[in-house]
Point group: C2
Chain length 317, copies 2
């Protein structure tokens, strides 16, 4: 199965209000709650597509208990490790557009991190692919993902890493099989000047190549609504969605990570994996509920995604 | 003891942010949580002053469990009745000023209301005064407070009611011993035209007299920072704080209700009760933590509150 790791899980709360007016009181018309954090979003997409998946990570306090209950209601298999501090909430106030409030989240103790690694090691026996997603809660070492990637490799599982900043740069020496940064995250990681005269795709390929050189087996760099670029040992591809898809981009990145994970599991060729990543991402944007993917919609998009190999114009090294 | 009833309890969550900017994402610098709802605020003030108090009401779901845990941590005795639906949260985003988001709260079933009344009846045996505060959750009859007031009278307990709108008007025929509306609530209740040419205090006395005629034993009408007016069977008083108190008015009304409750319990004369109400209210405004009262501060204010009997100018009937 695919194992997803969400170390900084969240309870995502959405408030629908008529209009957000600062320094007034709002009666919330509608409250919805969802188990959140990028790794759980990936797990939900995989589960919705019928793929065997298990979600692990850290959960604590009353908010953690609520996240666990929501996972149970969704029928999602979980093996989260308890912590003493409270799992964070995110509150999105939606009045057409969204205003977000992100709680700082828990502090994890060294003993809890030890307990997590032991549990994780025991789960690796059944995992063919491990997905590591999102920020690290306070208290964890910056190289937490490096440790988990090394353990996965030892157990014979392949890894997809979707994080940014220090947790990403500290993880690259451990050689994750795939990382999935966007242009902003690549620039931040490489402290690169934005413009390079070859356009966004050219820049993505160049920066992704630099991140491969730092240790990643493959770099799948998101170009947002324009699709993605895959820089791999087998070649470099530019993959575009069939059309500008209208909808909610929340969770589209997590849907593409779900595609990368099942593609790695199936040892699919890269053009097929990247096509699936763009199709699931577009289907997530088009879905009526943010972050969900309907298989039929994804199938429809998959037939019209365009894949271009671009080894000539942009050498990967 | 004093029994406080909070049928629509809440988890009050406060987020401190640098500046609230609609349609952006905010990292919350500091999260604080408190058991909320007006009745629980009253109970906390009484408990802080060393008065024997028991808090009852309705709590449900994970949020209700969290409220119960916070009450336990505060050492506040509670006898809440469980419901199936989720207790509401209120979120206040503070960036100097406060922006509030109030969840709609639970729906209470008829069976849960029956269970509450049975529990309430059993608690009345030890109660000399019952405080009934706040809004009614959905599913309860509009005359819920009337039912609870009648039961208290039958058990020999006196009642303080602090609510507004339909729950207040439906409760008056049950003859609560004291109600505590503000000018806005009085106008709303009586559908009265605002101006009457005698100034705010004069209007308060006239409207409070009208509410007494509808069934209340006494009406203590809040004039905000200007103190209050008490219209009672024993006379009419205007009570002013010693000074304009700087601070946070949140919870000041609940502090004055706490004073009314202990005054009724002690069968104190009205001028003493009203003085205590203004002193506790001013102490709550001055307190560093909103809604708390330091006894020493209240004692200091109590010595300089002014009480004026105004039977001549504004006949009560």
């Amino acid at each position: 199965m695919i194992l997803t790791v969400t170390l900084n899980a969240a309870l995502d709360v959405t408030y629908r209000v008529e209009a957000l007016v600062p320094h007034t009181t709002h009666r919330v018309a509608e409250v919805s709650e969802r188990a959140g954090g990028k790794g759980l979003n990936v797990a939900r997409v995989l589960h919705g597509l019928g793929e065997p998946v298990l979600a692990t990570g850290l959960l604590g306090g009353d908010t953690g208990a609520r996240v666990r209950r929501l996972l149970g209601e969704a029928g999602l298999g979980e093996a989260f490790v308890p912590i003493g501090d409270e799992t964070r909430r995110t509150v999105a106030v939606v009045d057409g557009d969204a205003t977000g409030f992100w709680e700082p989240g828990p502090v994890v103790t060294p003993g809890e991190w030890d307990a997590f690694r032991a549990r994780y090691a025991s789960l690796l026996g059944d995992a063919t692919v491990v997905v590591l997603s999102g920020s690290l809660p306070r208290g964890l070492p910056a190289d937490a993902y490096a440790t988990l990637i090394a353990a996965a490799r030892e157990a014979g599982a392949r890894t997809v890493l979707d994080t940014s900043g220090a947790p990403l740069s500290a993880a690259l020496p451990a050689r994750p099989d795939v990382v999935k940064p966007n242009l902003h995250e690549l620039r931040e990681l490489l402290a690169d000047a934005p413009a390079d005269g070859r356009g966004a795709a050219g820049e993505l390929v160049r920066l992704a190549g630099a991140v491969r050189a730092l240790g990643a087996g493959a770099v799948v760099a998101s170009a947002g609504a324009d699709g993605l670029v895959g820089v791999t040992a087998d070649g470099v591809w530019r993959v575009r969605p069939p059309e500008r898809v209208a909808g909610n981009p929340t969770g589209a990145g997590d849907a593409s990570v779900a595609a990368l994970a099942r593609g790695l599991r199936d040892r699919s060729p890269w053009p097929r994996i990247l096509t699936d990543a763009v199709a699931l991402s577009a289907a997530a944007v088009a879905a009526p509920v943010a972050g969900t993917v309907e298989a039929a919609t994804a199938d429809r998009f998959r037939t019209s995604v365009t894949v271009t190999e671009i080894t000539q114009e942009f050498p990967a090294c």
